[in-house]
């Protein structure tokens, strides 16, 4: 179906589902393109929450909360077996050996 506006220039929420693969393929994935995307995202957040007349503490608290969640997802693998518990588990499953 022919669109009035070319698919490449539409924002994500305006792209129809059938056009989604072609939209993804037409995005700029070069290093400067990715950097531009990060820069646009950064300024979008900055101008909405921080660069306002009466910015509150929630602008930076949201960033820190995201940072905590991000670090948690990174260290999830290490946190799966907690420190003092592996012997407690082995008490119950004496036939299966230490976890």
């Amino acid at each position: 179906m022919a669109s009035v506006v070319p698919v490449k220039d539409k924002k994500l929420l305006e792209v129809k589902l059938g056009e989604l693969p072609s939209w993804i393929l037409m995005r700029d994935f070069s290093p400067s393109g990715i950097f531009g995307a990060f820069q646009r995202g950064y300024y979008r957040y900055y101008n909405k929450y921080i660069n306002v007349k009466k910015g509150s503490i929630s602008g930076i608290t949201m960033v820190l909360a995201c940072y905590v969640l991000f670090s948690y997802s990174f260290s999830y693998k290490h946190l799966k077996t907690p420190a003092g518990r592996s012997w407690a588990i082995s008490e119950g499953n004496s036939q299966e050996g230490v976890v």
């Binding site: 306002v52 910015g55 602008g59 960033v63 905590v68 670090s71 990174f74 260290s75 420190a83 003092g84």
Partner: protein
Amino acid sequence: MNESLFTPFITPTVLGLPAAVLVILFPPLLIPTSKHFINNRLIIIQQWLIRLILKQMMTTHNAKGRTWSLMLTSLIIFIASTNLLGLLPYSFTPTTQLSMNLAMAIPLWASTVAMGLRFKAKITLTHLLPQGTPTPLIPMLIIIETVSLFIQPLALAVRLTANITAGHLLMYLIGSSALAMLAINLPLTLITLTILTLLTILETAIALIQAYVFTLLVSLYLHDNS
């Protein structure tokens, strides 16, 4: 037991790539720059803080020492922000790694010594001998002063590493012990109180940064001025 005690300090990797670079590059995102005269609240607070730090640190220096102001201000801002971000749960603090602190300490100390030797070679060398020492003691004292000079970067790096690592480890241990004692309700309040006070004392990580930059400052001043 050894592996599980120090797992909070492992450098994060994703698919073998060091993600520590991302963590180190994160604090500058919280410090925006601005071209305007009137700014938002975050920038106003940070500019006030930087002016305070600058005035506090740079008044004791002469003109040549003040060329270092950008370096020293960015150093203290970096260490302060990195240490404070490390107080958040599950976060990784790059300053717990000795490699990074040595990488910060050695070039800065070496450049102060090089600057002293380049511009005031005689005066720098005479710093190795305190005034009024009896003559037989001179050779031994020169050796001792040289050793104490060379131990400066090591002391800077190890001081920062050990303080931050010890603080994090202590908080981790006390927290896990409080969690274990939750079933036995008796000393619970005492331990949570200890955790709270320890956290507030640990927020004198800022005091540690002061210590870092001040000792660096002292050596710069000494090599440059008198």
